[in-house]
Subunit: 696 residues, 2 copies
């Protein structure tokens, strides 16, 4: 018989639902209106339709198993979900965008994800028309299932160091794919461990004795009838990971596998079939455009990550009560009209606000910068189509650093929110544990968050040198060059604030972030060019400079969006203005060492920043529940007992505990074998009285 | 047929084992000698004996399943291990210390842990002799198995808010234990979900209508013959957690359960059997002594946490190579005597050093402070036995803040090390993923890391007021009072450094940390006493002040240990001196905002700190592998493919992948049902050529 909580017991007063209702009533703006501003009506309508399909789907509707089962069960269910998604995709004829919404709501990576997100796009971008006819059409129908095999056991970020070779044999007009060492095993390849029968393999192209570096080749790896590995192929799953265990990340080794000439992706570079001569790609810069797009999407995802974590922690903190704050005790009405003092919701404690509110602000900051990155991406694509590559370097540099900064913020935000939920944050029912585990790879993939910042700073140094040597005119200056010019025109500038309230001025905040970034860049360029420091010795500064630049970008875009001339005059926008100021002030406070070191901010001013930071928390306090509500995450997505829309936290936790497999019997498995021998070992000495106590 | 890697393939040159050997040869000191200094010969001998028993034990020797199985399997194996531990305990007649070593090496919490760590100690400390005869003797023989039930679903840190009641019925001379609400469910109780048949329940004692607050009661909860819950008891497991899933954290509710008068732990407080009158405890301060001891042990554990994470990341970073550092390329000897350039081990990159070396330094800092806390604990116990409670407040305050600081450092350290391992850090084979999950509760339990700092700062404020008002003489001043006096005697003091090398002077560093702590305290006391700020408004400062004080304590104890008159003149100690300086300088750099805000450190000086910080990394570079070796963690403990003693990283990863359940068949389960339908759906259009490629 399964264990059940007594149904007549209620949580202590006041009830969570009641507390959340109050929060919603006292907000100064309409969270639904803000939701529409954020996403648009059309998107929300689509999302609700898709949500409705998923919630009622027999395979995808119930996510309950996710917290209770191990990888064995979860992987099988993930395969089943993958199959079901293909069926739904066909049935509803989902567009890419609609599929993306479904995927987001379902919130679990599966074995077919890389087929869609990397294998097919590589065919779209790098295959010739002939190749697309052979491979892409079949891939679209899932007749072949692919993966993208780049990373190796011994090589990740340094793509040039890949060991796998593809040697052209001009006699047979075939490529020979080979893994010369154990470290050359392809590793981490999503979808490869179990599902894929084809792989897009990045291998060093060798022809006529010359090494042309990594190029993509399509290789069939498993038999299409039996699914067994083809001869010469060693393939399997890389084993358990910290998260993402619903994906079959795999390894593969090739023992001199032969593939035909057509298997090399040949839209750009190619090998002449007869001579084996290498034909170069026309312009390698185009690939950077795609990277910008991918990274803009990562920033948008970071917004979701931060917003989702904040949703859980903010809602739960409005309910979870602890101690009585003597200086300002919380009262509730009794039914007889009198009132009584109850414990204070932790959301009223400044420390909790200080930990959580900046996470909300970061989420909104990512939102506005991601929009701006998308806008600039399209602008740049148009420019490039006209042969104008002048936007690309700046865009690529910012997108690299922003990927690094926002994914670092994202994972830190989840963990901060999880800890701020106290003990129950550690329960999987919080919805934050597995979420953290599945989000973490973002700090490493698509460019390691430390290595990536080198690209950003290298560009900034180059820009600074151009500006400093007068090679950039004010007219030609982009955002980066402009703030460096401002700095150079007045390197002794000082922050003008004299009281805490001055820190509500967006211009002052923006100027502060500009000065700090330019100061750090100027110092670093001096260290490299004059002091002759090595790049290696500068790596710590390089990381910081990228962060400083990208924090400035976030602040700047946020301010432009809510204080700019296009910003609407609405209650929603008034709150967003406060959020923007909080984002700037809390970032300023957290990075205070930089600002003080630059001399721009004085020690006395730094105390004003602290003061303003606490004031802002209080100003935002009435609106924080509505601010997370505006992100509109359905319970189906959150899977959180603590963060559900209705606030019925404690009932939800107990219902979730009832589903624990160990609770399905009165006496759990293992008792007979592992516990009884001891307890019963002394049985003879015990007498169990009618009071229920065993006595000697 | 299981999937196997080709046995003839080796990792790319140079081999990991060779790289680690080189690191060990070039160290400036003997890591074995340092190991003996850290632990003592006797401890190491005992540890090796116990390790030998465990490694060769049929139940405990193989930890392999831990990374591959879900909670179902892991929990059963954890029960089996629990039983086996009881057998070994009896067989080898292990002392508490020896059992602790075994438990540490086995490195997995189980269902009987709380029986030993909380249930029995509560009986030892709070039961009368009569009660001990009934309960403790049986508990020692595992004839009864207990747990410690304090936390409730709705109440953690605020113990006074617990809802469970124990109402004395003077007529029947029984206590009635009751759970009035859903939130009063006892929750998180280790060992309760499945194993325990008794619980030490903290419940609000009510007698003659008066509420005396929480007291401990022993309650039998499951039948000793059938293990079924007793009538009126609802008990079960709270469900899956982020980690610790080998423990059956449980919940329990009592529906007016009656227990006899003897079930209230009565060594201190008690209820008169006949009248129901409450008899107060003689001195409540004694309990604080135990808390100090528990927290000193947590600091010691933080040392292990940091050291273990650093061991994995440092060893792997000496092997993992990435890019060629052009300014200083790495060369290896070919067999023909010539040399070739290979990729640079990431340990040579300054950013990697900057992330990892401070973790080593933190581990050593925790080591020396934990030793000092233990020493002070015993000194204080002696004083208290003589009725002198003068040491207690300071000791308790520091131990609270140090628990908070060192466990926060500990979990941050693991995650930093895990990320610094790049992609493979995300594989469970890194040994850091589950370790992080299992370590995390420490930031919440035994006093939440934020709430706890209030105790520290409250004491520091009180001390400051005493010092400021002249109520403490220099003779009577303890460490805290002394540094506040120094500050008050010269509040305009300034850091004397003029060049980076000045930052090797321990006295200068110590004075810097003292000034900063005193400055923050002085400012906060002013804000509270003069500006009348509420405690709530001060919480952010309160947290920071505790951290500042405890960082000072860590720096001070480290410096005393390695620069003091008792420090030995050895190679080992010379390296530890560098480590101590690195700890101080890296902490100083990381907390620079505080130091700059106080005015003690100038912006120009802050640049010297950065410069010195990078220099120190280079100075320590040759010794870091030996520094982690000195912690002497056996592979049995680490369970890490990346961090094993022999450095054969890539072979270990591939061997571990072979054990993945999905790799035990050529075609994994799920293919027929979820993949084949699509692939075979298009089969008619495909022709599979003899080259293994399917064509239209």
């Amino acid at each position: 018989m399964a264990i059940r909580f007594p149904r007549h017991l209620k949580p202590i007063e006041p009830q969570g639902t009641q507390l959340l209702d109050q929060e919603r009533q006292t907000a100064t703006f309409d969270s639904k209106a803000l939701m529409v501003t954020l996403y648009g009506e059309e998107y929300l309508k689509k999302r609700d339709e898709i949500l409705n399909i998923l919630e009622n789907d027999p395979v995808l509707g119930d996510k309950n198993h996710r917290y209770y089962t191990g990888r064995d069960v979860r992987f099988q269910k993930s395969l089943a979900a993958g199959k079901r998604f293909i069926e739904l995709l066909k049935k509803h004829n989902w567009t890419k965008e609609e599929f993306g919404i479904a995927d987001f709501l379902f919130d679990e990576s599966g074995p077919f994800r890389l087929h869609r997100s990397m294998f097919m796009p590589t065919l779209e971008n790098q295959a010739t028309e002939e190749q697309q006819k052979i491979y892409l059409e079949a891939a679209k129908r899932y007749e072949i299932i692919g993966c993208y095999a780049q990373t190796e056991l011994g090589h990740g970020s340094n793509v040039r160091g890949l060991e796998t070779t593809a040697t052209y044999d001009v006699n047979t007009q075939e490529f020979v794919i080979n893994s010369p060492t154990l470290t050359s095993s392809k590793w981490w390849i999503g979808g490869l461990g179990v599902a894929a029968n084809h792989a897009m393999v990045m291998a060093r192209l060798i022809s006529n004795g010359k090494d042309y570096g990594p190029h993509p080749f399509i290789v069939q790896i498993r038999d299409l009838k039996t699914h067994e590995p083809l001869p010469g192929v060693t393939v399997g799953d890389i084993g358990p990971k910290f998260g993402f265990n619903t994906v079959d990340n795999g390894f593969i080794l090739f023992d001199n596998i032969r593939i035909p000439h057509i298997a090399m992706m040949a839209r750009y570079s190619k090998i002449d079939k007869a001579s084996g001569d290498y034909i170069k790609p026309p312009n390698s810069k185009l690939a950077y455009g795609t990277m910008v797009f991918v990274r803009a999407n990562i920033i948008l995802e970071s917004r979701y990550v931060l917003a989702r974590a904040a949703t859980v922690a903010i809602r739960y903190s409005a309910i979870r009560s602890q101690f009585v704050d003597d200086a300002s005790p919380k009262k509730i009405q009794n039914t007889d009209g009198t009132s009584k003092i109850v414990e204070t919701p932790v959301l009223d404690y400044v420390m909790q606000q200080y930990r959580l509110f900046p996470v909300i602000a970061q989420a909104y900051a990512c939102h506005f910068t991601a929009l701006e990155m998308h806008r600039m991406y399209y602008e740049n694509q148009e420019k490039m189509a006209q042969g104008d590559f002048s936007y690309l370097a700046d865009l690529h540099a910012s997108s690299s650093g922003l990927k690094s900064l926002t994914t670092t913020l994202g994972s830190a935000g989840i963990e901060e929110c999880r800890r701020a939920c106290g003990g129950h944050g550690y329960s999987l029912f919080s919805g934050l544990g597995q979420f953290y585990q599945d989000t973490l790879p973002k700090v490493t993939w698509e460019g390691d968050n430390y290595i990536l910042t080198q690209q950003t700073s290298r560009y900034l140094f180059k820009t600074f040198r151009s500006v400093a040597s007068g090679r950039v005119s004010e007219k030609n200056a982009n955002f980066s060059a402009s703030y460096m010019m401002e700095y150079l025109s007045n390197p002794k500038a000082r922050c003008p604030i004299t009281q805490a309230s001055d820190l509500s001025n967006p211009e002052i905040l923006l100027a502060t972030f500009k000065y700090r970034a330019a100061f750090l860049i100027s110092k670093a360029v001096h260290n490299i060019d004059v002091e002759q420091k090595t790049w290696n010795d500068m790596l710590v500064d390089i990381y910081r400079i990228s962060r400083a630049h990208c924090q400035l970008v976030l602040v700047s875009n946020f301010i432009k969006a809510v204080f700019g001339s296009n910003a609407p005059a609405s209650n929603e926008n008034s709150v967003l203005q406060k959020v923007a100021i909080l984002f700037a002030v809390s970032t300023l406070e957290q990075e205070m060492a930089d600002f003080l070191t630059s001399g721009y901010v004085s020690p006395e001013q730094s105390l004003l920043v602290k003061e303003r930071s606490i004031q802002l928390l209080k100003e935002l306090r009435p609106d924080v529940v509505a601010l997370v509500d505006a992100f509109g995450f359905p319970d189906y997505l959150l899977q959180s007992s603590l963060g559900a829309q209705d606030g019925d936290v404690y009932t939800r936790i107990t219902r979730a505990a009832e589903l624990e497999p160990l609770n399905q019997k009165k006496v759990a498995d293992g008792y007979e074998e592992y516990i009884k021998p001891f307890v019963h070992g002394g049985q003879g000495k015990w007498k169990i009285g009618k009071d229920g106590i065993a006595r000697l």
